[in-house]
Symmetry: D2
């Protein structure tokens, strides 16, 4: 069995997270190329991964023309996803695309079609679906342990803002897209239902400087959701959040309640007179979801090798984009918005 | 120092909670009369409390005419509060009134004026303000431990429905009033700000039978709130909730996060192969807030003795009524509602 | 029903703990006298309790000669317990005696006999038996939830040293008596068995100054116990302990495990970047066991009024003294010691 | 860089744990041979790992004669460790040896010398030293967060008995060796001191049938330890333990306390009326220490590649053997035993 050869598109933080996983944990894979329009970043990451033939490229076309690989892992800014994904698909290259999938549902449709037409795998990066705690929770819900979900609450508070390109909501769909796509996906996944209606409120508490350039920028938001099966959803969003990286969910069922995730980084607890009982909190999504990233990337390789449909599909990516757009619309209009169809 | 003599108005569950506290824990007080329009319930409770002269009355007027007391504790259905409170005030009797204070803000205003005119104490039963965990949290917030509150989430899931009179929303303002008044008060108290806008969604998952008679009845709701200082609020409500009595809050601040309350009834934990790690949950508000009820009732006596203004005033009661009415309005209209003034 | 009139013997910290409880929480009781050989302390506490006739006495005889009371609460240094208890009993006065009951089992026997002969109540102050968490745990054990107890671990780490009189082990039986009597009682109570054998090791880590005067003084100890039914016990002792007041137990059963108690003072949790997740720890036994003290003192009054045998008897007090003496013997000899009989 | 070729000696549970890790997680390694005196087990595991040339061997000599490899991973019964390790060393093959290292300190010395003479790596399998929670705890201790350790408590309760060969204490040193070697190593590691004295008590509660054949067999034990720097230690041991796999430590320092490890298998929590609050417990050491096994095996490869001394040396292995032997001696003699030297 030959290794699956991977081209990383995007040499930033998220690219490195996946690169490190492929390098250290996924045996039947190898990283063979890095693409980034910042060629220096691409070269730097290539060096870290000891590429046998050091191929760092400025764009995907060059990479395809010069070196063979089986799959791309796309971690560039959201608005660049469609072009990369479609170009890869046309060249019969399998695609792992980070969330948010795109900034419009039309782009999502084009990406899905391109991959489908080419017969290549398309997996979207909702890694929480590979987290042991979330999987265990989903199994318990499906077994009926807490009855039918009636309220699902999910939150992500992220410690650091994404790149400058994301500060303009028109460019990025804002923090609800960049940070809370996961929550929208989690509620949909755990409920097993589609979104019907959304009401969102946003504030900018800590980023007055950004607001000067981008008046619609928000760093704090709450979202109230209704799903087609009647389940209610609540999301709260804070980014930048100063206390750590926080990703949790709480599911109220007709017969019980469930808590998913923890802010604790460690089970080690100390107590001293001065500091009281202290537990280290999670500071980074990279560490919080390390095990999920390994499982997600392993799954991608297994889907390619086994010609299997990924657990997180283009449709899942699109549905999160759709509801995020409606939520931003609600913020701007100050009233609830129905999800189309 | 003579004991403060108390007349319990309402011989139901809430009346007994306060009665038990006065009987067993509040030394400079004594229960001297019970009023309930169900005279048998009044007599039964009178017996339990070994009233020296067994005075159980059908209405407040009879009690006032026949026996002397210094204060009333009103725990009857909400819509009866204004008449009892105003009658007590006119007779220079101090008033402790359970939440919700009334069903309209106009009634609240009348109650406040009556007590003010008579110069008697008026305290409203938001006992969470006397819970050690909530007080400690409020102190930490005020000290700035987590910075300025930016999102405050509060929930109450109650195990059992209130009396039949409460099932008609027109009569009671529904579960948001009966169960979640505490959450509306908590968010206002912790934020130190007034409400500006509310959006609420409700469902009826488990009570189809009630809906036949009262189509507007809901057993599940979510509430999205904006306060005048920008703080955002979220409430979720479930009643009846089958898993226990759940009252918790989570405050996201500009510099940190805070969790208030716990579902745990005990710190005793067991683990067996069959049942895994098990901790007994709280099943009753009486037990969950026992210490708060003692402190609340002790405070009422101290206010009377010291001519002090209670920590929870009629204004606090009215503000909760006001936002609950707006939330119900939002549910019916399907859109956000501004709080007047 | 007349109030039970109480004479506090001992106006120190423990005396004030019981005094405050009787004053504020136990309705059918009143404090009528204070005895302390430091008359100023007695007077000061008498003032705090607004004694109707301000009776503070230098010794018990004077109090008995001058004022009537039904019960004494003995909280003076351990070595003074026998004389006070026996004098009270001879005067037909009921006795609540703090732990440790005495410094020798012979004294315990004399105290038990005096109370028995006089027909008065004798209750020993193992308040953990009145703590809701410990009671709940005991009930679960007796129901067989975790099978038969095979290892019981109990610890007390106390923040502050007792009075100077206690630093001489010959006078006090040391910290195992003053601080860990509770643990010895807890293991015996939870196992339902008597002690057979004990091995103890002690160190002095933080109190070099005390060791100069009292070379046998220890501030840290571990105790290994065998009970007659085969159950094994472990105790660890630290006093002074700088991080708080810590009292917990862990019971391994043949079918499961149980954790009793918590170091947490509050369910309120904060998290900030600088301090991580923080929970306030318990700093004082007075607060940790407040509810237990109320229940313990209420029980004492009920036993007097109902002529009932207290849940914690003189035998319980004696058994703890017996095993503590054996443990100290083991420390000095460096080998295990059998418990007599 | 060529892969490090590994020969697994022992095709049982522990062998498979390491094999799975090498197969799935350690990129610069490959499994090239399996040795087990049960050749069918060796063949079965060889098949699972898709060995390129399917080499399963009955003994190590055959393997060495027929195939090249760089390292062995020894997971066979303890008494077989010395011969395997010494034979590997003589053939210049690196050695990873599971705990307990051997059954006598003389054997440990021979193993250490053989590896030293041959200049090969010798690493002992105390994987807790690679667990993130334990490492974090060790770092905090070394930084002085809780002051100097004064009491260290460590426990292992294992769900299942080891193989029949281990039931005879003379053959295996009993459960203190098989199950609690980790605790002896943990206390020594965290304290940074050597053992001075040990007192142990043991019982057989659940395994009467085994006791018929091996009267010295125990399934429950407590151990009291004194270290040369004065630190006190306590271990409790239960195996078989019916409620799960439990491995935790508690370190009392001169300035604070620290808790290491958790019985929780998941951060997902449910609550229902019938079952109360439920958290899944850890059932297996394989899952509990999965991350530690990956880090441990990665470290072994890095030591070989970098000619580095492993973090867990033969001396560490020997010190645990030495104190376990003294503890068993204490159980049999009923008195404390000094550790030689």
């Amino acid at each position: 069995m030959n290794n699956i050869r991977i081209c990383l598109i995007g040499a930033g933080r998220a690219g490195e997270v996946h690169g490190d996983v492929y390098k250290d944990y996924i045996k039947n894979s190898e990283i063979t190329a890095i693409v980034d329009n910042n060629i220096e970043k691409a070269k730097s990451l290539a060096k870290k991964y000891n590429l046998k033939r050091s191929f760092a490229f400025h764009n995907l076309k060059n990479a395809i023309d010069n070196i063979k690989f089986d799959a791309v892992v796309v971690t560039t800014p959201t608005f660049t996803h469609p072009d990369y994904v479609i170009e890869a698909a046309k060249n019969k290259i399998h695609v792992f695309c980070e969330k948010p999938m795109a900034t419009t549902t039309r782009d999502c449709d084009r990406m899905i079609k391109a991959c489908s037409d080419a017969g290549v795998t398309l997996q979207i990066g909702f890694m929480r679906r590979f987290d042991p705690g979330f999987i265990y929770a989903k199994n318990l819900i499906d077994k009926g342990t807490i009855g039918k979900p009636i309220i699902i609450k999910s939150l992500t508070h992220g410690p650091g803002l994404p790149g400058n390109w994301a500060l303009d909501i028109k460019n990025s769909n804002g923090m609800l897209a960049e940070v809370n796509s996961h929550d929208f996906d989690t509620i949909r996944w755990l409920s097993g239902a589609e979104y019907e209606r959304v009401y969102a409120v946003a504030q900018n508490f800590n980023c007055a400087a950004i607001a000067k350039k981008f008046p619609d920028f928000y760093d704090t938001a709450t979202v109230s959701l209704t799903l087609k099966n009647g389940t209610l959803g609540l999301i709260d969003s804070v980014c930048p959040c100063f206390y750590g990286y926080d990703a949790r969910a709480e599911v109220v069922g007709s017969q019980g309640i469930m808590f998913i995730g923890s802010l604790q980084d460690s089970t080690t607890i100390t107590c001293t007179r001065e500091n009281s009982i202290v537990i280290k909190q999670t500071m980074s999504w990279r560490k919080r979801f390390h095990e999920a990233y390994v499982a997600e990337d392993r799954h991608f390789i297994e889907c390619i090798l086994g010609s299997k449909e990924p657990l997180v599909s283009g449709i899942d990516g699109k549905k999160a984009v759709e509801v995020v757009i409606a939520a931003n619309d609600s913020i701007l209009k100050g009233k609830p918005v129905n999800i189309d169809r």
